[in-house]
C-alpha cells in the first residue's frame, strides 16, 4: 500500500467538468466509502471549485479504478475513461509533495491564495472518520506546511484578483473591514464574487440594487442585504462605506447629478467606490470630492498584477519549504512499518530455527544435555548474525526516508503479509 492522489484540477479540466466533479460536504462520506470498499485503507476527499482530489492509502488498482468510475458517472457520457482523460495520479512521495504544494497555494489558480488552507482543513475534517493514521498525519503536516510557506515567504503577500484587490484597497482606507457597510450596484457574476469577498471580510452588504429585481434578490438573500431598484439606491450613498458597482449598463450610472448632492452630506466620511464594470459605471468626476476614493477595474488589476509578480518571486523559497517538509514526512512514513516488520521477520526466522533445531536434535539423540544446549546456542547466534545486517540496514534506510521501498522488498522476499 502507498499514498496516492487521484483527481482533476483547474489545469487539467475546464470549469464545466470541474463543476460536475465537485462534491458537497454531505457527499464526501459516501464517495469515500465507495473507494475504500475497493481496497483503500484510508481516504480524504478534497473538493473545491478548482479541484476534486482523492487522497488514498491504497494499492494502485482497484481503488484508483473506483475513483475514475465514481467521477465518470458524473459526466454525461459516463465511462470511467471519460473522467480519466481530465485527471492525474501522483504516487507516494509525489503525492505528498502535491498536497503540500496545494495547501501552500503553489498549485492554486491564483498563486498563493490563502483560501485553500481552510479548504484543506475542511476536507480533512469531513473525512476524519475515513482518513486513517497516515492521511491524518499527512493532512496535519500539510496545514503546517501551508502556514510555514505563508509566514516564511511572501507567497501570500498582496492580493491577486480584481475582486480581492478591491477588498485590499478598501482595507487601506478603512483598516479592519468588519462592520463596514457596502451597497452593490448590479447583480452579475462579478458583482456577486466581489460582494462575497467583501462579505467574507465582515462587511455588511446592506443593499443590492439592480435593474431587474429577481437576481438582486437572490444575491441579497444570500449575503443578508435588501434588494432595491437603482433609483432607490442613490440616497444610500450618503451613509454607506463602500459602493461596489458592476452593472451591465452601457454608460455611467453613478453620475454627479444623481449622487453629487448626497455625497456632500457625508461630512468628510470616506467613501470607497469600486467600479468593476466595463464600460465604467461611475462618472470619474465623482472622485474630485475629497473623501471619495474611486477605483476602476484597471486600477484593481494593477494592484492584482503587482501582487502576482511579487508572489512569483517567492516560488523558489516556497518550493524549498515544500521539499524540506516532504523529506520529513517521507522519513516518518518510511520508518512507520520498520519496527513491526523487523519483529515479524525475527519471529518467522526464529520459528523456522526452532523447527529445524528440533528436527536435527531428533537425529542426534546421543548428545549430552550440555551438547544439545550448545547446538541450540549455536543456532541462535547464527540467526542473530544473519539478521543483524538487514536489521541495521532497514533501520538506517528508515531514518533516511528510504525505508518504505526496502520494506516492500523484504515483505516480497520473505513472503510476509502487508500490514493491515
Amino acid at each position: 500500500m502507498g499514498i496516492k492522489v487521484v483527481g482533476v484540477n483547474h489545469r487539467t479540466a475546464p470549469l464545466d467538468v470541474r463543476e460536475r466533479f465537485a462534491h458537497g460536504a454531505h457527499e464526501v462520506p459516501g464517495a469515500l466509502a465507495r473507494v475504500m470498499a475497493a481496497g483503500a485503507s484510508g481516504g480524504v476527499l478534497l473538493s473545491t471549485c478548482n479541484r476534486t482530489e482523492f487522497y488514498l492509502v491504497a494499492d494502485d488498482e482497484p481503488a484508483l479504478e473506483a475513483v475514475w468510475s465514481l467521477l465518470g458517472e458524473r459526466l454525461s457520457a459516463s465511462p470511467a475513461g471519460g473522467a480519466r482523460e481530465y485527471g492525474y495520479i501522483a504516487r507516494d512521495r509525489d503525492a505528498v509533495r502535491h498536497l503540500y504544494r496545494v495547501s501552500s497555494g503553489l498549485d492554486s489558480m491564483i498563486l498563493g491564495e490563502s483560501q485553500i488552507q481552510g479548504q484543506v482543513r475542511e476536507a480533512w475534517e469531513a473525512s476524519r472518520a475515513q482518513a486513517g493514521p497516515v492521511l491524518h498525519r499527512l493532512f496535519q503536516t500539510a496545514l503546517h506546511v501551508g502556514s510555514r510557506v505563508r509566514t516564511e515567504t511572501g507567497l501570500g503577500m498582496g492580493t491577486a484578483s480584481a475582486a480581492s484587490a478591491g477588498v485590499a484597497v478598501a482595507g487601506k482606507i478603512f483598516g479592519d473591514l468588519a462592520g463596514r457597510s457596502a451597497l452593490i450596484l448590479g447583480a452579475g457574476d462579478m458583482a456577486e464574487l466581489a460582494a462575497t469577498c467583501l462579505s467574507d471580510q465582515g462587511v455588511q452588504i446592506t443593499l443590492v440594487a439592480n435593474r431587474t429585481q429577481e437576481r438582486a434578490r437572490a444575491i441579497a438573500e444570500r449575503l443578508g442585504g435588501k434588494a432595491v431598484s437603482l433609483e432607490e439606491a442613490w440616497p444610500h450613498f450618503a451613509t454607506t462605506d463602500i459602493a461596489l458597482c458592476s452593472t451591465a449598463a452601457p454608460h455611467a450610472v453613478v453620475t454627479w447629478e444623481r449622487v453629487g448632492a448626497v455625497l456632500g452630506a457625508r461630512r468628510g466620511r470616506p467613501l470607497c467606490i469600486l467600479d468593476l464594470a466595463v464600460p465604467r459605471d461611475v462618472d470619474p468626476a465623482i472622485a474630485q470630492i475629497e473623501n471619495v476614493f474611486l477605483y476602476d477595474v484597471d486600477d484593481l488589476q494593477t494592484v492584482a498584477a503587482q501582487a502576482t509578480a511579487r508572489r512569483r518571486d517567492e516560488i523558489p523559497a516556497a518550493e524549498r519549504i515544500v521539499e524540506e517538509e516532504t523529506d520529513v514526512f517521507w522519513a516518518w512514513y518510511g520508518g512507520l512499518g520498520v519496527v513491526p516488520t523487523i519483529k515479524e521477520l525475527r519471529q518467522r526466522m526464529d520459528d523456522l530455527r526452532a523447527v529445524e533445531l528440533e528436527r536435527a536434535l531428533r537425529h542426534l539423540g546421543h548428545l549430552s544435555p550440555d551438547d544439545r544446549a550448545r547446538v541450540e546456542q549455536f543456532s541462535l547466534v547464527l540467526l542473530n548474525k544473519f539478521l543483524h545486517q538487514p536489521t541495521v540496514a532497514l533501520k538506517a534506510a528508515a531514518e533516511e526516508g528510504r525505508g518504505y521501498g526496502l520494506l516492500e522488498a523484504l515483505r516480497r522476499l520473505f513472503g510476509m503479509e502487508p500490514p493491515a
Binding site: 487601506k172 482606507i173 470616506p270
Partner: protein
C-alpha cells in the same frame, strides 16, 4: 559607561533604521521580528544608560526623548500594527541619540536630579514631546497614504503604510495623550521652580513662545476632540502643532545657544 551604552543603542537603532528603510532603497523588506528585536535590544541598553544619567541639559533630554520615541514606536507597532511609524520614528530616534552624544552625556550629581518634581517634569515633558512627534509621524503617513490612494498609485507607500483609518486613530491617540503629558510637565516645572528654585528662571522669549506653542498644540487637540475633526484636516492641524513646537525650539536655541539646558 554611559557613552558606551549610548553608542551600542545608537548602533542597534541605526541597524533597525537601515532594515526599516531598505524597501525604499530597492532592498527586500526585513523580517518583522528583526525590525522589532533590534529597537528592543537598543532600548534595553538605552534604559540602562538613562538610569545612570542626570536628567539635566540638552544631551540627557534628547536621549530621553529618543528613548520615549522608541518605546512609542514599539507600542504602536504592537498595539496598532502601525509598522510604518518606524519609517520616521527609527531615523528620528537614531538622530536624537546621535545628537545627544554630540551634545555631551556624563553622569552628574546635581541636586535637581534627585527631586521628584524635577524628574517627573523631565519624564513627562519627554513623553509629551515624543507623543507629539508620534502624532506628527502618523499625520505625515496619513497625508502620504491619502495622496497615493487619491492618485490611484499602488507603490511602496500603498503597500507598506498602514490604512488611513488606523493612522487617524494613532494620530488622535498620540495627540490626546501627548498634550496633557506636556502640559503636566510644564506645570511640574513651574511648581518645581516656585518650591525649590526660588522662582521661575525663564527668559521672556521662552515664556511667550512657550505659551504660543502650547496654544497651537491645544488648538490641534481641541479641533480633534471638540470639533470632531478627522482625516486630512486633523492631520494638517497636527502637523501644524508639531511644526510650531519645532520652529519655536529652533528659534529659541538660535537666540540662546548652549547645551547646558534643553530649553
Amino acid at each position: 559607561m554611559i557613552v558606551t551604552l549610548h553608542l551600542v543603542a545608537l548602533a542597534l537603532y541605526g541597524l533597525a533604521t537601515a532594515f526599516v528603510l531598505a524597501p525604499f532603497m530597492g532592498g527586500r523588506a526585513a523580517p518583522r521580528v528583526l525590525t522589532i528585536a533590534l529597537p528592543c535590544a537598543g532600548a534595553a541598553f538605552h534604559v540602562v544608560a538613562i538610569s545612570q544619567l542626570t536628567p539635566v541639559g540638552l544631551g540627557p533630554a534628547l536621549s530621553m526623548l529618543a528613548f520615549c520615541l522608541v518605546l512609542l514606536q514599539l507600542a504602536s507597532e504592537r498595539l496598532l500594527r502601525g509598522s510604518a511609524v518606524s519609517f520616521f520614528a527609527a531615523p528620528l530616534a537614531t538622530g536624537l541619540v546621535g545628537l545627544a552624544l554630540l551634545s555631551g552625556l556624563a553622569p552628574g550629581a546635581e541636586a535637581a536630579a534627585r527631586n521628584v518634581w524635577f524628574v517627573l517634569h523631565v519624564a513627562l515633558s519627554a513623553l509629551g514631546l515624543a507623543l507629539m512627534a508620534l502624532a506628527f509621524i502618523a499625520a505625515a503617513l496619513y497625508l502620504l497614504q491619502f495622496r497615493e490612494l487619491k492618485a490611484r498609485r499602488f507603490g511602496q507607500v500603498f503597500q507598506l503604510f498602514p490604512p488611513l483609518e488606523r493612522l487617524d486613530r494613532l494620530n488622535r491617540f498620540a495627540l490626546v495623550l501627548g498634550f496633557p503629558a506636556l502640559t503636566l510637565g510644564v506645570v511640574l516645572a513651574l511648581g518645581y521652580g516656585a518650591q525649590f528654585s526660588g522662582g521661575l528662571h525663564a527668559a521672556k522669549a521662552q515664556l511667550v513662545w512657550g505659551i504660543f506653542t502650547w496654544v497651537v498644540l491645544g488648538w490641534a487637540v481641541w479641533v480633534r476632540v471638540v470639533r470632531h475633526w478627522a482625516g486630512r484636516r486633523a492631520a494638517l492641524a497636527s502637523i501644524a502643532g508639531f511644526g510650531a513646537v519645532l520652529l519655536v525650539y529652533v528659534a529659541l536655541k538660535l537666540t540662546q545657544p548652549g547645551a547646558e539646558r534643553f530649553l
